[in-house]
Every structure is written in C-alpha cells, then in structure tokens.
C-alpha cells in the first residue's frame, strides 16, 4: 500500500476514534435550561384534551415529559410560516412533531438519527417504490403498508390539511413538512415516550417482522431472545442510564447491540452505525459509512477506495458534501464487538462473526451474484421486458434476495439456526434450483447456455448438478436399494 494511503487510513481511524469516543457512555441529558419549556398555553391544551382525548392526555401525564414540565405546546408549537402550521384554539401549532422539533431539546439524538438508515428508509426506496407498491399493489397499499414502516413524503395540501394518502404516518424515514427525515414516535410511542418501551424488542417489531425482515422471529428463536424471555424482569428497562454490562446483564435486546451503550461504547441513534454488511440487497457489501461535514451520512461499498477526509462527494440526493470522517467496515465491526464482549469472550465473538460472514459470503457467491448475472444477461439481450414484475421470474428473483436471502442472512447475523437455514438459505437454494433456473432457462430459450449455464459453470459452486447419479438416503432411498 502506498504511504499516502496508509496515512489517510490512519487519519480515518484516528478521526473515527474521536468520533466514537467523544460522546459520553450514558444517555444524553437534555442540556437546555428548564426555562426553555413549559409554554404558558400548555395548561389549556391539557385541560381540554383530558376531556376530548383522555387516553392521550393520560399517557402524557405518565411521561417523563410531564414530570419535567414539558407540555403539548413545547412540542407542537409552530411558526406561522411553517408549511403545516394550523391555527388551533388560538395557538399556531403543527400536528406533526418532527425529529427537528424533538431536536430542539434532544440535539444529540437528532443529529445522530439524521442520515441513518432509519432516517433514510423512505428516501432510499422512493424511486423503486412505484414498481411494487403502485404496479403490483396500489396507492392504498403504499399508504397503509410500505409507508407505515418506511415513512411517507408527507404532503400538506393548500388548505392546510395533511393529505390522507401520506398521513397519519409514523414510518421511520418519513419526510416531514419541515424537511427533516424520520419519526421519533416510530419507536418512542407517543405520548408517553417511555424509555423502557423503546428498549423492548417490541419497539422494533411493527416493521422488523414478516417474510422480508423477520428480525422479531429471529431474535425470539435465538439464545439472546430465549434468555430475554426468561429474565425480562431483570432487564432494568426503566433505568435512567442503560449501559450493557453495567446497568443490565440478563440479555440483550435489539437496542443493546444496534444502538445501546455497552462498556465504553457510547449509545447512538444511528441504528446502522455498527453494521458491517448491507443485508437487504441483492448482493451484500461490506460498507464504509461516510459522514459529511453537514451531518449527512452515506453508505459506500467497502470494495471501493474509501474517500479521503475533506474531499467533495456527490450524494444520493444530488447535493455535494465534504467528507468529515469515514468509518471503515472493520471499525464498525469493532464497535459491534464491544457490545458482544460485555458478555462473551473475544475468541467466541470472533468465531461467531466468522460464521456469520461465511454465510453472507456463501449467499453472495453461490446465489446472489450468479442470479444477478443471469438476470442482467436476460435484460441485456431483451429476453425480459425492462418493466419489473411483469414476468414471473422477476417475482422469483425478488423473493430470492429480498425475502429468502434476507431471512437467511439475518438469521445468521442474529443466531437463529432455523432462520439461517430452513427459513432462509434452504429456501434460497430451493428457489434457485427449482424455480429461478428453470424460469431463467425458459426465458432465455435458445440463449440458455450462454445466459444461464455459462454463469453456473464459471461459478464453480454448482458442479454437483453435473453428478446425477448421487442417490442419497435423505429422500428415503438409500443408494444400495437401487440396482
């Protein structure tokens, strides 16, 4: 490696160390003076809403907000010129409390959350959405399903109302009328905003469950989920600070590993910060996390050269940002490992990570990459129409990586043997051999050899298909029974 690159990478590591370690290990206390909240109109809100929507008011009464004197107006107040400002009982308010609004007090959490895969959950898929949500489904499905997890682009109509096609919505990548992305209430149920509730695995279940991201099921089927279920009352979920290994040791929840503080590792509201791999893509990549001067973030494939600090880069939304820091995949793995070692030995942790990486690499090289190459060949030769999902193989390919492939990879990442294989890679294999390849050959017709079989031959992991005489007892036909 040339010395220049060495020093660049050294600077990166140094910078990231500062980035990771500069924050305190405990949950950030609000630094504002209490005189900044307690809006004078708040009492009137509470008095009336206690009658008109008593559940909501009671939830707020039970909250830390109420205990600290933070009232309705402190969060809902708006400026007249705000796009979604409305007049309500003599006050100018907004229905939507965006991350930017929460960030008036919770600055650190807001800054961490902006640019995270959670905050970008809608932006990332916005241009892909129509092909599935609109063509295969319909607008009603996008509003009631896709957008409820990914978030909607909230539209304020000219009469000040929120377009019901885009609201109500608490999707985590919601694009708010004030331009901020995300929805704190996606995890922190309003209006109680309970710490304990957000630390529970159930906080994630609304979206991280089901065929394409069965993280709830995977967690429950793992040893982590098993000990959590057995020792839930020892989790200290209500604690003011919640550092793994210090404030609780019974079991981890989703938050523990992906966001929580552990030992010297600080907590973060950037949920993807500790993720090495992209697992919900046709082919998984190790990823750099690029952090820009303006706080925006971007994932970059780890097989490309890392951008240097101070360089300008074009971003997904077309704007240009100056690189402030780059977290390498290795560095992100180190951060995650710091959580593991609160309960596990280093060797154990590294061994597990090796097993996980091996599954991802197997998926990539044996199925993800060849399937992608075969699809690319079919499109290039015009053997498939460019429109997505108008041919059966497009559903087959979609499910191969988006559902079954994601399940297998997630299963391995969180230690559910069942999801890694039976719900995951077994189905990937079955799909690949019994549906995808036959459909690809049918679509390729006379080009099947060059478009499909050439890819398999070059891959080298499918040679067992060339040995049709290998009878196995697994199907109930031991080899000796056949003469």
């Amino acid at each position: 490696m040339p010395p220049v690159l060495l020093s660049a990478s050294f600077r990166r590591v140094l910078f990231l160390s500062i980035f990771v370690l500069a924050f305190p290990a405990a949950a950030e206390k609000v630094k504002l003076d209490a005189s900044q909240w307690g809006h004078e109109a708040g009492d009137a809100c509470v008095s009336c809403h206690t009658k008109s929507s008593s559940g909501l008011a009671q939830q707020w009464r039970d909250s830390a907000h109420a205990a600290a004197g933070v009232n309705c107006m402190d969060c809902h107040r708006a400026e007249r010129e705000d796009a979604d400002a409305i007049e309500h009982e003599g006050q100018v308010i907004a229905t939507i409390v965006s991350p930017k609004d929460c960030g008036r007090c919770h600055t650190k959490e807001f800054e961490e959350q902006q640019g995270s895969v959670h905050a970008e959950a809608y932006s990332i898929i916005e241009d892909r959405l129509p092909a599935l949500a609109q063509n295969v489904g319909g607008s009603a499905m996008q509003a009631a399903s896709c957008d409820q997890c990914h978030g909607s682009r909230v539209k304020v109509r000219g009469d000040g109302t929120l377009d019901p096609a885009t609201w109500p919505n608490s999707g985590i990548g919601r694009i708010n009328p004030d331009g901020s992305k995300g929805s704190c209430s996606s995890c922190h149920g309003r209006h109680r905003f309970s710490k304990a509730q957000a630390r529970e695995p159930e906080a994630c279940v609304r979206c991280h469950s089901g065929p394409d991201s069965p993280d709830k099921e995977i967690f429950e089927a793992s040893k982590h989920g098993m000990v959590y279920a057995a020792h839930r009352e020892e989790m200290n979920l209500d604690a003011a600070e919640w550092v793994a290994g210090r404030d609780y040791t019974a079991a981890p929840t989703c938050v523990s590993c992906h966001m929580g503080a552990a030992g010297k590792l600080p907590s973060t509201h950037d949920v993807g910060l500790r993720n090495v791999w992209s697992l919900n893509t046709p082919v998984s990549k190790r990823q750099f996390l690029v952090i820009f001067e303006d706080g925006a973030k971007m994932e970059l494939p780890g097989d490309e050269a890392a951008p240097r600090r101070g360089t300008e880069m074009a971003r997904a939304d077309g704007t240009v940002g100056v690189v402030k820091a780059v977290a390498t995949p290795e560095r992100r793995r180190q951060a995650m490992t710091l959580v593991c070692v609160e309960c596990h030995g280093k060797g154990f942790t590294e061994g597990f990570m090796r097993q996980f990486d091996a599954v991802v690499e197997l998926y990539n090289t044996k199925f993800g990459e060849p399937a992608r190459a075969i699809m690319a060949g079919l499109y290039e030769r015009g053997l498939l129409t460019p429109t997505a999902f108008d041919e059966p193989i497009e559903f087959t390919y979609w499910e191969l990586w988006h559902d079954e492939g994601a399940r297998g990879r997630h299963g391995a990442s969180m230690m559910s043997p069942n999801h890694a294989w039976w719900e995951g890679m077994y189905l990937v294999g079955r799909n690949f051999y019994a549906r995808f390849l036959p459909e690809a050959r049918a679509a390729a017709g006379g080009h099947a050899d060059e478009v499909v079989d050439a890819v398999l031959r070059a891959n080298g992991q499918h040679e067992w298909l060339d040995q049709p005489g290998q009878m196995s007892a697994i199907l109930g036909f031991p080899p000796q029974e056949v003469e």
């Binding site: 008109s52 409305i86 100018v92 304020v156």
Partner: protein, 209 residues
C-alpha cells in the same frame, strides 16, 4: 258632545296623512320583513351562480341534513336577527351583488375557489364581531350535550372568552385555513392541481381584476 271633537290642528289633511303614513309604515315594515325573509332564503342566494358552490358544500353537512330535521338556511347563519339588523346586513351585503356584476367572474369555479379564502376570512370576522349571534339563534351553550361523553363538559368548562366561531370554523363550507396560517401560494397550487391548470395560472387569473 264638544269633548269628542278632535283638536283643532287635526285637520282633514293631517288626518289623511296620519292614516296614509300609518298604513304606509305598517306596509313598509311588512315589506322589510318579507324582503329580509325572502332575501335570506337559499333560493334567493343561489340565484347568483357563484353562490351555488357554497351551497353544494353546505348540502353535505349536518347543518343541511340533520337527524332532527332542523335545516339552516343561508340567512339563518349569515343574516342577523331582527328586521333592522337584517336590513342593515342586506344593505351591506349588496356590495357582493356589486362585485358579482362588476368584479371578477365568480361564476367561474376556478375564480370562485381562488377568491374563497378572503370571503371565508370576512365571514369569520363577521361572526366574531357579533359574538356568533346567529349560531346562538339555535344553539344554547348550556344545553349542548353532544354524543361523546365529554362534549358537554368541554362546552361548560373550556369556553371562557371564546365565541362559537373561534373553534367551529370550516364547519359548513369548503375548508379554508385560519387567516393567521393561510398561505396564498399553497392555496393557488392546490386549486391549479384540482382544475388541472398550469402552475402560475392562479396568479394570472387573480391579477386580471
């Protein structure tokens, strides 16, 4: 007999003038009452095509179709009670007729929708200035029960210093934001989208008059 004689200044002419004036006065008052009554009716208001848009929205609301069979007319809400106040309102309201004849083409649904917010703001100011007097013709605060458990309590305990219109706007006609948060640009874009017009058409149409 002399006691029955009329005073000397009651001449025949004076007598005739009194009778004619009295009867005329009665007839004039009767005319005003009838006039106010007629000009407060939905039928009269919607003789201007421009008013049919407001009427269409009104017909979708509970003020038109109530379970009890009570049906409000335009005048029940928009014309004050009492013959003098009603006459005054109609006299002031004749400016609308003037604008209908010489102003923008309010009969055009686009023009109508573009100018609606200012009309709504004026109507709300009118209600507020009269402490929602026309609402109270039918609604008595103390008697409001509502269907939900807390409606009565809210009207009893949360209405100090408030007039009906402060909370109950956008009740009958097309929804228009409060003047304090109204954004003309957003409104214009919404109307353009609704009528499939090129962006900027709204400003051009409004600038024509």
């Amino acid at each position: 007999m002399g006691g029955l004689r009329a005073p000397l200044f009651i001449t025949r002419h004076v007598l005739i003038a009194l009778v004619v004036g009295g009867v005329g006065g009665v007839l004039f008052m009767a005319f005003l009452i009838e006039f106010d009554h007629y000009t407060s009716s939905d039928a009269f208001c919607t003789t201007c095509h421009s008013m049919t848009y407001a009427d269409q929205d009104f017909r979708q609301t509970v003020h038109y179709n109530s379970a009890s069979g009570v049906r409000a007319s335009c005048g029940d809400c928009h014309v004050s009670e009492g013959v003098f106040a009603a006459t005054w309102d109609h006299a002031v309201g004749s400016k609308d007729l003037f604008k209908q004849l010489f102003g923008p083409d309010y009969d055009d649904p686009v023009i109508n929708a573009l100018h609606l917010p200012e009309a709504a703001f004026a109507a709300r100011r009118w209600f507020r200035a009269r402490d929602s007097a026309t609402c109270k013709r039918c609604h008595t605060l103390e008697a409001i029960q509502g269907k939900r458990a807390d409606t009565a309590a809210i009207h009893r305990e949360e209405t100090d210093g408030k007039s009906c219109i402060d909370c109950h706007y956008n009740l009958v006609h097309r929804k228009v934001p409060d003047e304090s948060t109204f954004k003309r640009d957003a409104w214009n874009r919404m109307i353009e989208e609704e009528f499939a017009l090129e962006p900027g058409t709204a400003e051009r149409l409004m600038g024509e008059h």
